[in-house]
Structures are given as structure tokens and as C-alpha cells.
């Protein structure tokens, strides 16, 4: 038996270079040295390369369908689902076909709410995970996005941190920041705000009651991401919706 690895397979000792080979139980030949020299092996690659590769395939599929895709990310309760319901209705009225994929830990509550609009909605339950992955999107993409869909919204799991690291194949990330969350979130959780092309400031209807400082909030968004577009919106009273719908319409004519 090999004293180093405990195997009892065939052994080949290469005297002189210290190498030692044996065939493992899995049929593979394993080599190791009895000398303790080490070497550095450069392996320059993205840690999430596998996710990134699947995301690229998703992107190519969606581009092939002529579908523009938005990945909506925010903390829980920032108003993603309510915003989407109103948005789906407005786009439907404008004759623009849409679809939704929504991620939550458990249940179909969000999907059921959005299905009332008549738009196809696919719910992904991520269970103990805290974000959607490109693989999860890939698994439902063909059945979730009918031919002719112009806009796919992916409503990510409510989480300001984890979803940002996982490219899903979207064209743009959109960050939602609601006024009750205060002005400092962009500085405390800069990852999302640096990755988002558009930041939607939601629940603007209650901003004054909260004493929410708009100038400070916008400055904080700009500090993390000077290029970000910023829109103020309220799903409750509809303010800012025209600009938001125009943004979406403009994006699909590019």
C-alpha cells in the first residue's frame, strides 16, 4: 500500500525525479512527488466563468429573439413587483409584448400578482439561495419568452448584494432604491449601483413625509456611478411613469 495516499493500485516509481504514479480506484493515473517542491501555476480567469459563459448563451438567445432584457435588482420591499405590474399594463396598452421571470426564495406570490396582467410570468424558486444564476434562467428561457417578446424583465431575488455578481444574460441591470431606505444605500452597497445603467428612485410619493433628501441621494448615486441615469417614480400615484415607459420604448428601438 502506498504510504502517502493509502491506495493499493499499481505502482510505478520513477527513480531520480521523485515522481510516483499509481492507478486510483476510479481508473485515473495519479502522480505525486515524494519531494516537497512546489510550483506556481498561473490560471488567469474569472471565478464565475461558468456562470458568465451561460449568461452569454442566454444573451445570444434573447438577441436572436429580438428581446431586450432588464435585470431588476433591489433590496426586498423596494417595489419591484408593484412597479412591474403597472409597467406591464402600460406596455400592453402600447402594444409591446413582454414577459417576466421572477426569482424568490419560496412560493408564487409575485408571479400570481403579475399574472393578473395577462403577461407570461415564470416563477423560479431559489430556496436557500439569495440570487438568480444564469443556469436557472437558461433552464426556463425557451418556455418563458414567447416568440415576438420585445422586453423580458427578470425580477431578481430581493437582495442588494448577491445578485450583482451573477450575470444572467441581461442587456442592462436596473437598480431600484426606495425612499424609505434612505439616502446612503449607494455608498454602503456600491456594487449594485456601480453595475446599474439606470437607478429608479421609487416610492417618491412618500418622500416628503419621510424627510428624504433627494439631492443627497442623487449625489450618492453619482459618486458610485457618475454615468448612471436616474429616474424618480411612484407606482402609487403614477408620477415619473411616462419617463420610465419612454426609457423602455427607446431601449427597444436602439
Amino acid at each position: 500500500m502506498c504510504k502517502d495516499c493509502g491506495c493499493d493500485g499499481h505502482h510505478h516509481h520513477h527513480h531520480g525525479d521523485g515522481m510516483h504514479a499509481h492507478t486510483g480506484a476510479d481508473g485515473k493515473v495519479y502522480y505525486h512527488s515524494h519531494e516537497t517542491s512546489t510550483r506556481e501555476v498561473p490560471l488567469e480567469q474569472a471565478i464565475l466563468a461558468k456562470n458568465d459563459n451561460t449568461a452569454e448563451l442566454n444573451r445570444a438567445f434573447l438577441k436572436g429573439r429580438g428581446t431586450r432584457t432588464f435585470n431588476l435588482i433591489s433590496s426586498p420591499g423596494a417595489g419591484k413587483t408593484t412597479l412591474l405590474i403597472k409597467t406591464l399594463e402600460a406596455l400592453k396598452a402600447a402594444g409591446i409584448p413582454t414577459a417576466v421571470i421572477v426569482g424568490d426564495q419560496y412560493g408564487e406570490i409575485d408571479a400570481d400578482r403579475m399574472r393578473s396582467t395577462g403577461v407570461p410570468v415564470t416563477q423560479i424558486q431559489v430556496h436557500d439561495s439569495c440570487h438568480l444564476t444564469a443556469q436557472q434562467i437558461s433552464a426556463v428561457l425557451e418556455t418563458s419568452v414567447p416568440a415576438g417578446t420585445k422586453i423580458l424583465f427578470i425580477e431578481n431575488v430581493g437582495n442588494l448584494v448577491c445578485p450583482v455578481a451573477f450575470d444572467l444574460g441581461e442587456d442592462e441591470k436596473i437598480a431600484l432604491l426606495s425612499t424609505p431606505e434612505g439616502e446612503e444605500k449607494p455608498l454602503k452597497y456600491p456594487g449594485l449601483f456601480t453595475a446599474a445603467k439606470l437607478v429608479l428612485l421609487t416610492k417618491m410619493d412618500i418622500a416628503s413625509a419621510l424627510g428624504w433628501d433627494k439631492e443627497l441621494c442623487i449625489r450618492n448615486v453619482k459618486t458610485t456611478n457618475p454615468q448612471a441615469e436616474i429616474l424618480e417614480i411612484s407606482s402609487k400615484d403614477g408620477s415619473g411613469f411616462d419617463a420610465w415607459i419612454d426609457y423602455l420604448k427607446h431601449s427597444i428601438t436602439q
Binding site: 485515473k28 493515473v29 495519479y30 502522480y31 505525486h32 512527488s33 516537497t36 517542491s37 512546489t38 510550483r39 506556481e40 501555476v41 498561473p42 490560471l43 488567469e44 480567469q45 474569472a46 471565478i47 464565475l48 466563468a49 461558468k50 456562470n51 439561495s129 439569495c130 440570487h131 444564476t133 448584494v161 448577491c162 450583482v164 455578481a165 451573477f166 455608498l187 456600491p190 456594487g191 449594485l192 456601480t194 453595475a195 449625489r219 453619482k222 459618486t223 458610485t224 456611478n225 457618475p226
Partner: protein, 116 residues
């Protein structure tokens, strides 16, 4: 706690590499992360140790994770100079012009393996 998934992704890559390279023992893994990568270094170390415990048939146990932290790079559209910062800044450190252009910061890369 997406650090566990990142650790597992790292281990799958290393496992594939070992399969193709005679399965040497890996003593340490060096990664680099930007300040805006959204990865918590302490959580990453914790997740790494947990993920390594049984990975690759026990061959990754005690494998160290070495983390290089990358600063954020900026380029000022005013004076044209580049600079690095350990935190987000809203003005050029040279000329004071607002909102210098950020370059990178979200890196999350496997750099190298130290193998026997």
C-alpha cells in the same frame, strides 16, 4: 451568502484543472477581488474552508485561499490623469474635478495555484 457559491465555482474550476494535470495536491489558491465585487473577504474565507472540507475527494482540505485586494482605478476627464483609490471618490485627487471615470473595481478572478 453567495460566497459559498463562489467558493464552489472556484473548486469546480480547480477540480477540472487537476483532472487534466495529473491531480497534484493544491497547497494554496490565489484570487483577486475588486473593492466593488460585492464579496465579503471574511465570509469568503469561511465559505472556502467549508467548501474545501470534502471537495476533490478530500484533496483540497487545508488548501489556503490567498486574497489580493485590488484598488479602484480612476481616470479624470478634466486633467486626464489616472489614479488609484482604496475607496469610492467623487472628485479627482489631482485637480478636484467632480466624478472621475471609474475603471474596474468589480474584478473577481482566479490568479494562480500553488501546487506540489
Amino acid at each position: 451568502m453567495h460566497e459559498l457559491e463562489i467558493a464552489q465555482s472556484l473548486l469546480r474550476t480547480i477540480d477540472d484543472w487537476r483532472d487534466q494535470n495529473g491531480s497534484p495536491r493544491v497547497l494554496s489558491v490565489r484570487i483577486e477581488m475588486g473593492l466593488l465585487s460585492g464579496v465579503d473577504p471574511d465570509a469568503m474565507q469561511y465559505a472556502w474552508e467549508a467548501a474545501c472540507e470534502f471537495a476533490c475527494g478530500g484533496m483540497m482540505k487545508d488548501c489556503k485561499l490567498l486574497i489580493d485586494h485590488l484598488p479602484i482605478k480612476y481616470e479624470c476627464p478634466g486633467c486626464g490623469r489616472e489614479f488609484e483609490s482604496e475607496k469610492l471618490v467623487s472628485a479627482c485627487v489631482h485637480c478636484g474635478k467632480e466624478y472621475p471615470r471609474r475603471k474596474g473595481g468589480r474584478e473577481l478572478n482566479l490568479k494562480s495555484l500553488e501546487v506540489e
